[in-house]
Symmetry: C2
Subunit: 430 residues, 2 copies
């Protein structure tokens, strides 16, 4: 864990280093991924079967090897322990309600020159959702990706998920049932992303691909950006907690660790104006780590990437937070509003002492797919808009053309595009 | 020009080939671009100066070589011929008005469990706009990129544009003045995109990069996607005109040619239910080409990529249009509403006989930066949203935590994330 103090002479340099540290895998898989994408594009299902046997140890022969049926998903849902089923249902309902309010409105108006202008939003026809296999197969993640797509009105929602050695994750199947997923294919890695983008004999292509994955999946999405739409490239998760000294250090330590337990490359940062509180949180992290079943990951993350920054006053915090542009920002103070107003760049903000980040991971309602690695400077969390697109429209009559046509002719001529000018002139009888 | 008829036995196959034909450069510049990006990242302004001399024949030594001053832009604007200046001002005003209505609303509500939920939209701090040099340097394109950024509230708007052999384009400077651009740098190519993304000693980095460019510029943006935000990768332009036989063939021919004159790889497609009208349009294209100063480009585009599709009834047109998902779609019929309602995938739609696509290129109001190459299936035209990002927020009190906290604990335990559960339990006094 790194301890910084804004009063120290070396602070600016150390903080700049922290801001620049991306913690992302620099594993260069671009070439290998390109070979896989080309292979699936050219050979389709045969390539999928070979790659799935090679990487997942799973043989794709009959239909049940390829695809998990809707019945199997429903059975997994019905078999859930009732408390867990109710929790999953509450999460789905709250996520749905929050995202329903994101549906954009169409527009259609006639302006003073008589030109009718507007835009209509429509869902994409089909969306593909990558769900990792193994430990990182989170049902919450499936809900957070699938529900915005359903709310958008996507007609066909396809999940791809690797089933290493044939193993399926019943929680993920249950979530797929609850979210109304239409197809679940037992493929993963770059080859699954390729199948979604290009289509194969078995799998029809989709228009948008979202969902978390390893470096190969992320690179496949990046290479296929433009062939399909994708969500933002995601790096390791991070939390920034801004806290005064009147917090319970146990709570704040748990919040920092809830990020750290995700991934050894995750980052937890505390900014506080109270040095004694900082010490207490650091101690408490040690105490909680000793009891934590996920201590191995969390310790590695905290030791390598954890940071405590002491500030003279919390007024200094927003500038630091804006430079860090963190995925999650907690404002653990009595009145978080002034700080909140000053924070320009953050994926999601958790206001006050009673809002741990974990509540946002599961069921507060907003999406937990958020920009990481300072991308909150320009990117937003996943939303219904990622599964929709806008078509603008224009309608003119002769009067409207008389009003604005001549200016279009002047501009077309200035740009050296005479056929543009001609198409307007003809309608003006010139 | 290719002539198809939906009644012909070979139609489906020919149409599928048309849909798949991407017309995009398969020039593989990925490796060369990567070398340039690394060079600018490592050596900054020195690399920029070398590359600019090499590719643009322009020496970057004193400040005036690097940058075009605000005064020079204002002078270019003042020197415009008055009719052209008025046309540019009308375009800017109409584009601004249309885009102002795109500004998204924040949300902030408290739900029935006492959880406060919402989202705030904020502009990115800085945006970079690529403006090609030479023939394709269109002032309209500068306005279409810069005005949405200004409407979004972007604080710093930076233009990069190559000035081959030192030559500047006064129309572009005038548009930069009118749009309120803050900085104009005389650099281009992948090196300019790298400078915007990484920053150099002279040029501070930006958060979002938009604007058209050649294959090198497009590849640089693609590789830097994630370091910065970018607009959609753009390919050659295209128009689909759906017209009945009661149109003036001269008008429709001019519309088809207004697309063709952009680029030899541009594509113009006519769908009509009237074979005689189809013949007349084809003839008229020939007549107009004979007079067109841009005939060389337009002829190459029309001969290589032009298509006329005869349908038995215009009711067949929407399905074809949705498969093509064209950038521009004209509906040249008396009542375009039924066709418009059936078209799901299009960048922009031009309704009725009096709405040539060229009017949308310049000053109707909607953006002319639109998804090409079937990307209208999942992508939208450039908008104010491309220069903004959304931060979600959550605020809970003790009662709200009692209402939804236990479900979060159940989900965290099911996912094997005990610190997540702990951060909630502590707040519930468990």
């Amino acid at each position: 864990m790194l301890r910084l103090n804004t009063r120290d002479p070396g602070f600016d340099k150390a903080f700049r280093r922290l801001v620049r540290d991306r913690r992302e895998s620099d594993e260069n898989v671009a070439r290998d991924v390109q070979i896989i994408l080309d292979d699936v594009r050219n050979r389709g299902d045969a390539a999928l079967a070979e790659l799935t046997l090679k990487y997942d140890g799973h043989a794709l022969s009959d239909d049940a090897d390829w695809r998990i049926s809707a019945e199997a998903c429903r059975e997994a849902f019905d078999a859930l322990e009732p408390g867990l089923r109710a929790a999953l249902e509450l999460a789905a309902q709250r996520i749905r309600t929050y995202h329903e309010a994101q549906r954009p409105a169409d527009r259609d108006q006639v302006d003073e020159t008589g030109v009718r202008l507007g835009a209509v939003w429509r869902a994409v026809d089909a969306a593909g959702l990558y769900v990792p296999g193994g430990r990182a197969a989170y049902p919450s993640s499936l809900l957070m990706n699938a529900i915005p797509a359903k709310v958008a009105g996507v007609g066909r929602l396809v999940v791809v998920t690797p089933t290493p050695k044939g193993q399926v994750n019943p929680l993920v199947l249950a979530a797929a049932h609850l979210a109304g997923v239409d197809e679940v294919w037992r493929i993963g890695g770059a080859q699954a992303v390729a199948a979604l983008a290009y289509g194969t004999a078995r799998i029809r292509p989709v228009d948008v691909i979202t969902g978390p994955g390893n470096a190969w999946v992320a690179e496949a999405k990046r290479q296929l950006y433009g062939v399909v739409g994708i969500d933002m490239v995601a790096g390791p998760s991070e939390i920034l907690v801004i806290a005064d000294g009147r917090n319970n250090p146990e709570w704040i330590a748990a919040d920092l660790l809830s990020q750290a337990e995700h991934d050894p490359a995750a980052q937890s940062i505390l900014i506080t104006d109270d040095p004694l509180f900082a010490d207490n949180v650091a101690d408490q992290v040690g105490v909680e780590l000793a009891l934590l079943p996920t201590a191995r990951t969390a310790t590695e993350s905290w030791n390598s990437h954890g940071v405590i920054i002491e500030v003279a006053s919390l007024d200094e915090a927003p500038a630091l937070a804006n430079a860090l542009a963190a995925e999650h920002v907690e404002l653990a103070v009595e009145d978080p509003e002034p700080l909140f107003r000053a924070i320009r760049h953050a994926g999601s903000v958790f206001l006050g002492r009673h809002t741990p980040e974990a509540i946002g991971d599961y069921l507060a309602g907003p999406n937990h797919v958020l920009p990481t690695g300072r991308r909150a400077r320009f990117a937003s969390g996943l939303s219904v808009l990622d599964f929709m697109k806008r078509t603008s429209f224009i309608q003119m009559d002769e009067a409207a053309m008389r009003a604005i046509g001549p200016a279009a002719i002047a501009l077309a001529e200035a740009e050296g595009l005479p056929a543009h000018a001609r198409s307007v002139e003809l309608r003006l009888g010139i």
